[in-house]
């Protein structure tokens, strides 16, 4: 294995020693002849191709149906490490939902002066159409994806929260499936906590938030924008795994107090819609009138208690990057607890003094758009040329409120298979927290890995890959 810059925490090696959670993988990797590794790698690729799991990568050219690279070297957490992470993730998911109930209700946190009113109510993601509405069980964000990075043995930071429709969970499930198929021995020798119950938990979570008017077993459907969407595979995969209908807007219609699905056996009432369509497009009678993807009248049925929409329209106001700064305050305010997971220190370019600091220190900072996602429109200072930094400075000056900045974090590395053998590559983690009648979390999540040497950007849209993520059973 080649060396790593000492400033990065290597999750597997502690000096010359192997850290305990990875003890089962040292021999496995070392003993694997290069031919076998190549064989297994092509086998994995063939499996991914066969099941059809591809990810449309925008902005990089090439084949839009290309595979997201799968790295066979697993990423591992001990049960102790996971216990702390899990407690922090659950805490955060509870606080984010409490915040959403509050800002669409009485707005106590704003009245108490803990979050500036304009950040909430002038936020693009704040939906006046749901003000005053209490969704079933008071849950707005039913699937909370929390992006975490690690910088040391006990140092974890939350990079961002995803309260709308975080994607990628199909990779978590497929990565495990394929690893088990290719390396069954690994799963006999190591006690790895299972993740395959995720679809059942998701279904139970969605059923638990059916409207009060629903009688009998709730009918759940996944609403997709269609097969042109880059995450369509995931929509159909989850529908299959949960045994629920996958529908497009045109398959649903509103009549009377309910939403109905056209089926071969006639219309069936739909109680819970797990939508993978943005707020702006779900109902042309409430939001964008030109949307062809949504269901006319859906919002009226939702507001009058005839259907549940997951995540709730308006949930995005909690995961905005300007609101992110205040999540620790939410945890203290609503839960009366100390935050278990830390935020990354964040500078708001909207504030003139902080913006000045950011402009003076661009070479050391990561700058992101407040509403951006997917690694687009961001600047990684230490990895950028003087010209790129100068150009980005102009963008910030034009619209400071659109940007936040954070220090460049020393993301931990995990051994990964590369051309020359095994080498450390930077990783992050996205666990998927389910919020309904109960809060559920499968152990692990999706590990994304920056496969380019030295790269700190793990987004699949920017050349990142994925790994199976293990949590060792107790």
């Amino acid at each position: 294995m080649d060396g790593d810059e000492p400033s990065y925490f290597n999750e597997m090696f502690d000096g010359d020693g192997v850290r305990a959670p990875y003890s089962g993988l040292d021999g496995w990797a070392n003993d694997m002849p290069p031919e076998l590794r190549n064989l297994k790698q092509s086998e994995a690729e063939a499996l991914f191709r066969r099941i059809g799991i591809t990810f449309a990568v925008y902005g990089e050219g090439g084949d839009p149906d290309r595979l997201i690279p799968f790295d066979m070297f697993p990423r591992v957490f001990s049960s102790g490490e996971w216990r702390k992470l899990e407690a922090g993730i659950r805490q955060r998911a509870r606080a984010l939902n409490a915040f959403l109930m509050d800002v669409y209700g009485r707005g106590e946190i704003v009245k108490a002066g803990r979050i500036p009113a304009h950040l909430v109510y002038r936020n693009e993601a704040f939906e006046k159409a749901v003000v005053g509405f209490k969704p079933p069980r008071g849950v707005y964000s039913h699937i909370v994806g929390i992006d975490l990075v690690r910088t040391g043995p006990d140092e974890f930071f939350v990079l961002e929260d995803n309260c709308r429709t975080p994607s990628g969970v199909s990779y978590m499930l497929e990565n495990r499936e394929i690893m088990m198929r290719m390396f069954p021995g690994l799963f006999q020798e190591n006690r790895i906590a299972p993740v395959e119950n995720y679809p059942a938990l998701l279904r139970r979570t969605l059923a638990s938030v059916a409207p009060e008017k629903c009688e009998g077993e709730p009918r759940v459907a996944i609403l997709t924008p269609g097969h042109f969407n880059s995450a369509y595979y995931e929509h159909s995969f989850l529908a299959d795994m949960m045994g629920v209908e996958l529908v497009e807007g045109q398959d649903l219609f509103v009549e009377g107090d309910y939403v109905w699905c056209r089926t071969t056996e006639g219309p069936k009432r739909v109680d819970v819609i797990y939508r993978r369509i943005d707020d702006a497009f779900i109902d042309p009678l409430c939001f964008r009138p030109d949307s062809m993807l949504g269901v006319p009248g859906l919002m009226n049925v939702y507001r009058s208690g005839g259907v549940t929409i997951a995540s709730a329209p308006g949930a995005g106001v909690a995961d905005d990057k300007a609101i992110y700064t205040f999540v620790p305050d939410m945890i203290r305010f609503y839960l009366g607890e100390s935050p278990i997971l830390n935020n990354v220190p964040t500078w708001q370019c909207a504030k003139p003094d902080e913006c000045a600091y950011v402009l003076d220190n661009l070479a050391e900072l990561v700058v992101k758009e407040v509403h951006g996602s997917g690694g687009y429109g961001m600047l990684v200072g230490p990895k950028s040329s003087t010209e790129q930094i100068a150009a980005f400075a102009e963008k910030i000056k034009e619209d400071p409120a659109n940007y936040i900045a954070q220090p460049t974090l020393a993301l931990s590395t995990c051994p990964s298979f590369v051309e020359e053998g095994v080498a450390p590559r930077h990783v992050d983690l996205r666990p998927y927290c389910l919020v309904g009648e109960r809060i559920e979390l499968v152990p692990g999540g999706l590990t994304r890995v920056a496969l380019r040497e030295g790269s700190l950007v793990v987004n699949s849209s920017q050349g990142g890959g994925v790994k199976d993520t293990w949590v060792m059973a107790e």
Binding site: G107, F133, P289
Partner: protein
Amino acid sequence: MRLEVRHRTLYRFDPAMRAVVQSLRLTPSLFDGQQTIDWAVKVEGAERGAAFRDGAGDWVETTSILGPVSEIAVEVEGVVETVDLTGVLKGHRERVPPLAYLAPTRATRPDAALIELARGAVAEVAETEALERAHALTYAVRDAIAYTPGETEHATTAAEALALGHGVCQDHAHAMIAAAHVLGIPARYVTGYLHAGGEASEASHAWAELYVDDLGWVGFDASNGVCPDEHYIRLGSGVDAVDAAPIRGVAKGQGAEALDVEVSVTQAQQ
């Protein structure tokens, strides 16, 4: 004043549509300036449902008709007792924070001319005189956009209407909202009916409401250069004409749509 409203909206589709769904905001607001004596909304042949009061205080309901649909008539009939509150929306229960009414839409985005209009209108009015500033905007918009039916259309923006110098109540309301936003004043679009005197004048109307500290929401009708009084009936609000529309509908199919609207607001015989 006791006002009687008859409002019939007839949609014709040729060829017939497969289905039509509508969201209706056709019920008078609940506030101290008006009291509903009698009110009925009829949509022949439609399934009704999914009704609720939204966070802005409006009563919303849903109608749907499965096709073939060649015609829909939305008929409103009612009597409302009004009093003059000089535009103040007193006693109106709503929960949307005024700050949520500061974002521009396609229709209300201010351009350089609207910015100039807004700043020019209040140049002589102290910032503390919020009500005076709102009145000043009303007169400025009225003077800059002459009330002229037929010059603008549904999709005309505030900036376009100002450039044209002509418009109708929708354009005045959009321009008021845009100008208010320039000054940092929350503003919204309001729909309703206007009793303009005479026997049975055409009477669907729209105006703007601006949020004035200490008073709350106050209506300003630039088309008539006044604040709504007992001649006005308020239905509902939104960020612009599309958002506040009393009837918002989607028809599935390839048919061409023809629209025929008849409205009368008369003083009721007691």
